[in-house]
């Protein structure tokens, strides 16, 4: 038992964090908005140069052969930067689905139209889309669909209604693909929410150290400190849940823990972004400071990939049916084995 990141994992998290720190600051986000472009081509080139879009693909298919712990660490960094480009959904959800059915990954990104989400994010810039027709998963070229943009309060969330006609030729798999996509989507939304929560605290710490009232930095007042400390506590107890969920093999416990991770990270991001608005005072309500980028993404991801109610129901299902107790923290009985013991 060693519930610790390896040195390689820590280094990956630091490297991606540093890259995004340098090329995805609040000023970079504002520049992208002013340009009117959907993506920052230079930033995406750097992300591709690091091999991140194919990080989960096997080495034989040009990927890095990394796992969900590494993907979660990258997603935390993407959340912290409020990254506009669709790295997480492409690399963390679309690529593993395509690899699972032996399909080649297209040169550009692949958007994911999971039935749990009402709209498809980043469909306009995608090369192809994964779309649902009942239980079936289809891989459909962008050129074969019609998109209707749905405005989000988060200016970087490019949401679309997708009009399309299923055809047998585009079908690549069934319900199992969507189920796996949901686990990955919820887990990686949780990871991004964790990063967003920490960003909200980081922005607030920097501001409250500088901003003076009553002749002192407002960060020296206990009322302000306690808002941010309470948010940090929520972050500290969401992080190990996200990491454990990313490390568990598929099982009833793993499903419950993905949902736990989503709930804990959503609660942390909600608490941290609201604390950020509060400690910034009127500035926190303005366009000028970066708090709103975090608040808006947290609002969106908190409900995407399964609402809190959806995930609470999944937790309850495990809690009321599985054996519980202090010896079960890592006790992930593989699903096949569970099925076998039920059959016996």
């Amino acid at each position: 038992m060693d519930f610790r990141l390896t040195d390689e994992q820590t280094m990956l998290a630091e490297t991606v964090g540093a890259l995004l720190h340098d090329c995805c600051s609040g000023a970079d986000l504002r520049r992208l908005l002013e340009s009117g472009a959907a993506r920052d081509a230079g930033r995406w080139a750097q992300i591709e140069a690091m091999g991140l879009p194919l990080m989960l693909a096997p080495e034989a298919r040009g990927g890095s052969g990394l796992g969900m712990v590494e993907m979660a660490l990258v997603a935390i960094a993407c959340g912290h930067a409020a990254l506009p480009e669709p790295l997480v959904e492409h690399a963390g959800i679309a690529v593993p689905a395509l690899v699972a059915v032996g399909r080649d990954v297209p040169a550009g990104t692949v958007a994911v139209g999971h039935p749990v989400n009402p709209f498809v994010a980043d469909a306009d810039t995608a090369e192809a889309l994964l779309l649902a027709d009942g239980d079936a998963m289809h891989l459909v070229p962008r050129a074969a669909v019609t998109l209707v943009r749905q405005d989000s309060i988060d200016p970087f969330r490019r949401l679309f209604r997708v009009d399309w006609k299923p055809a047998p030729a585009t079908r690549i798999g069934g319900a199992a693909l969507w189920e796996a996509a949901l686990e990955r989507g919820a887990l990686l939304a949780a990871a991004q929410l964790l990063g967003l929560a920490q960003r909200a605290v980081d922005i607030s710490v920097a501001y409250t150290k500088e901003r003076q009232q009553f002749g002192k930095p407002i960060g020296s007042f206990q009322a302000v400190k306690h808002h941010l400390a309470s948010a940090q506590v929520k972050i500290e107890f969401a992080r190990p849940v996200v990491l454990a969920a990313s490390a568990l093999p598929a099982s009833s416990l793993a499903r419950a823990r993905v949902s736990h991770a989503k709930l804990a990270a959503q609660t942390a991001a909600d608490a941290a972004s609201h604390a950020a608005v509060q400690v910034h005072g009127a500035m926190g309500y303005s366009w000028e400071v970066d708090v709103h980028f975090v608040l808006k993404r947290a609002l969106a991801l908190g409900q995407a990939w399964g609402t809190p109610g959806f995930h609470r129901a999944r937790v309850a299902e495990h809690m009321l049916s599985a054996p519980l107790g202090p010896d079960r923290t890592f006790d992930a009985v593989p699903l096949q084995q569970e099925a076998r013991s039920e059959a016996a």
Binding site: M1, R4, K216, K225, H226, E236, F237, R257, P326, F330
Partner: protein, 386 residues
């Protein structure tokens, strides 16, 4: 990262489980705060544990431990709580003072105090707080006056848990004329020494769970001082102090309580407010999150890492989850919640939940009030100005 138990760790779990199954008393012991009889029954349990080699598994073998790592300590605790074993009457000794003695004690002090502590022969109380020094611990006024090879202790200590029946106490005293964090020393003294008066304090339910101590020229040898003279603050707040933050409340305690809460919910859900299902799930998740966090910390410490301000995030998290968990239990019990175990028509466990609730109310206050912990997080973890 490898979140599987090794075969050796699994064998260790099986060994603890077998021993607990053979030794944990079938009937719960009378509580250790209400009566001398309950206290002594728990002392006897400490002796039984010690005889089996389970008194404090992380301590070195020479002092009555097994020299085990922190993952095995977690496994031990999981099996301990899973078996429903009695509460540790010597928790202030083994979890708070013990690690400090191991770090700061002279060889003579370790040999003198640790085996007796592990064996249950010395049950310890903490004597830090004073009427004028609670959250502001550096405001203690009790004094230790050096007189040849002795110290003469005087002052008034308060809120000492289990001091009513305990044998020894470890107290924070200052050199006369010193102020704040300077001039403090950590000194061990027997509670039956001449000049010590122990006055029980009733908790709000009437149980004498703590005491105040009046020290009137209590003479102890200077060899009872732990650490250097004047370094008492550093000793109390040391890395050993951080280890206390890890060990005082092991996650298994809350995981067992959460599993019981789920059982209670199953039994009572039909009659209860449907919204309580969410609170039950939250309690189960929080206990799980606390366990995962402690596993992460234990793994890091075993790899040579140092523990930092996460003792403060831990303290806030476990104390709030314990309180919320018990409030949810009382809400599930509904109009029965107010019944004590003595009520003839109370269902089984009703009084236990009430006791647990009363105990959990103190969690956000003791071991450093949660407001103080939030200050520590803000200043040492986030870097906000003092």
């Amino acid at each position: 990262m490898d979140i599987r138990y090794t075969p050796e760790e699994q064998a260790f779990r099986a060994e603890v489980r077998r021993w607990m199954a053979a030794h944990v008393p079938a009937q719960p012991l009378p509580d250790f705060d209400s009566t001398r009889e309950g206290f002594e029954a728990h002392r006897q349990w400490e002796r039984t544990l010690h005889a089996g080699g389970w008194g404090m598994v992380t301590w070195p073998v020479e002092y009555g431990g097994r020299g085990l790592d922190l993952i095995r300590w977690l496994i031990f605790e999981e099996e301990y709580y899973r078996a429903g074993a009695p509460g540790r009457v010597n928790q202030n000794g083994i979890f708070l003072l013990g690690p400090t003695l191991i770090e700061y004690g002279t060889p003579e002090q370790k040999a003198r105090f640790l085996p007796a502590m592990a064996a249950g022969d010395h049950i310890w109380a903490q004597a830090w707080s004073e009427p004028g020094a609670g959250s502001d611990l550096a405001g203690v006024r009790s004094t230790a006056v050096r007189d040849g090879d002795d110290y003469v202790l005087s002052g008034h200590k308060i809120w000492s848990s289990r001091a009513v029946h305990a044998d020894w106490a470890f107290g924070l005293f200052r050199a006369p004329g010193s102020e704040r964090h300077k001039g403090l020393s950590l000194i061990l003294f027997p509670l039956d020494a001449a000049g010590v008066t122990v006055r029980p304090i009733q908790r709000f339910d009437g149980k004498p769970v703590f005491a105040e101590l009046f020290l009137d020229n209590v003479r102890v040898p200077a060899t009872n001082r732990l650490g250097e003279e004047g370094q008492g603050w550093a000793v109390c707040m040391s890395t050993a102090g951080f280890e206390r933050g890890l060990m005082l409340r092991s996650p298994a305690r809350f995981q067992v309580a959460a599993a019981k809460l789920v059982d209670l919910y199953r039994a009572r859900a039909g009659a209860a407010d449907p919204a309580l299902g969410a609170a039950v799930a939250q309690a189960w998740m929080d206990a799980d999150a606390y366990a995962l966090s402690i596993y992460a910390t234990a793994s890091r410490l075993m790899a040579g890492g140092a523990i930092g301000p996460e003792t403060s995030t831990n303290k806030i998290f476990w104390s709030e989850l314990d309180l919320d968990l018990h409030k949810t239990a009382l809400a599930l019990l509904g109009a029965e919640a107010e019944l004590t175990a003595a009520a003839p028509d109370a269902s089984a466990d009703v009084g236990d939940w009430l006791d647990g609730y009363v105990f959990s109310l103190a969690g956000p206050v003791y071991a450093g009030a949660n407001e103080i912990q939030r200050n520590i997080i803000a200043e040492r973890m986030l870097g906000l100005p003092r």
